[in-house]
């Protein structure tokens, strides 16, 4: 067990704008730690989405770009194809990746682009004020579904990891969460594995991280963790959905 702990070098000193208890900060830290451990900070390019993480470029000490809504995988494709030596990753939320960016991510995964996507799934549109997302749970109340998500009207939540793993192109698709320390350890391992596959030039990699949004769910941070465990995790099951070996 490590007895010391400090902020990774790839993370800047800037205070984050995220709400109290939002697990975006944990995921940022895990990405930064993995970049530090792999020693690739000098040649890493991140791509921020439109969503809560739109200002992510303030929080990392390597190059960062900001893509149009949902178009981060298209931008990453361009950068990675022109400069295959760079480590490219996109950091996207569920409103960005699973909704408007659905076309981009599916085709990028199907082409087997050699970049990494960190997909933060918190079952709601965070930045715009808590509207219903494609990943919102049945009966979950949001500002645009005040009586709860009506499954008969708008269908079931999209399971992005399973959807992308149905493609025949090899890839690394996994789903993790960061609601407890044991999950954080596993999530970091998965993120490291995803970046390692990219370093080896092996395949497309996507790490879906089931995250919390206490403010837009209308809960305290601790209740949000509990709700994630009881409601989101039985539907969004954790683990590797697809590995390049199978």
């Amino acid at each position: 067990m490590p007895k010391t702990f400090k902020k990774p070098e790839a993370l800047s000193d800037q205070k984050t704008h995220y709400c109290p208890g939002c697990t975006h900060g944990v995921i940022h830290r895990l990405v930064a730690e993995v970049i530090d451990e792999l020693g690739v900070r000098g040649r890493t390019v991140g791509i921020a989405p439109v969503g809560c993480a739109v200002l992510a470029y303030n929080y990392f000490t390597f190059d960062f770009l900001e893509a149009a809504h949902g178009r981060a995988p298209a931008m990453a494709t361009g950068i990675k194809r022109v400069r295959p030596d760079l480590i490219v990753f996109t950091y996207q939320g569920d409103g960005d990746l699973a909704s408007i960016g659905m076309g981009e991510i599916i085709h990028a995964a199907n082409r087997g682009e050699k970049f990494t996507t960190i997909f933060v799934n918190n079952a709601v549109y965070g930045m715009t004020g808590g509207q219903m997302a494609p990943t919102t749970m049945p009966h979950q109340r949001t500002t645009t579904s005040p009586f709860g998500r009506d499954v008969a009207d708008v269908g079931m939540p999209v399971k992005m990891a399973e959807l992308l793993s149905a493609l025949q192109t090899p890839g690394y698709i996994t789903r993790q969460t960061v609601i407890k320390p044991k999950h954080i350890v596993r999530a970091k391992k998965a993120i490291k594995q995803a970046f390692t596959y990219q370093l080896e030039g092996k395949c497309f990699s996507l790490v879906e991280v089931v995250s919390t949004c206490p403010v837009n769910w209308g809960m305290t941070p601790l209740d949000a963790i509990k709700w994630t465990e009881e409601t989101l995790l039985p539907y969004y099951q954790l683990g590797d959905v697809k590995t390049p070996e199978n």
Binding site: M1, L11, K15, G21, C22, K180, P221
Partner: protein, 77 residues
């Protein structure tokens, strides 16, 4: 060998996630607000801390740091 745990009061947003994961129940929320207007966490029972770093791992704002304290007496000997 000893360790020192420090909490950056200005970074802490008082979400309380660290309090929930601490196995030794060391942490509590302060009653004084920080410059951001949040009630930050503090070590209410610092002697119980065994530096497991679970709070650091859980903190979304990377506000908690644990450093090794170099023992002056052993360095001189």
């Amino acid at each position: 060998m000893s360790y020192h745990m420090s909490i950056d009061v200005e970074r802490c947003k008082g979400c309380g996630l660290c309090i929930a994961v601490c196995p030794q129940h060391v942490l509590e929320l302060s009653e004084e607000v920080n410059p951001l207007g949040y009630f930050p966490v503090f070590q209410a029972r610092p002697d119980d801390c065994n530096h497991c770093a679970l709070c650091c791992m859980m903190c979304p704002d990377v506000a908690i740091t644990i450093t090794e304290v170099v023992d002056d007496t052993s360095a001189q000997a």
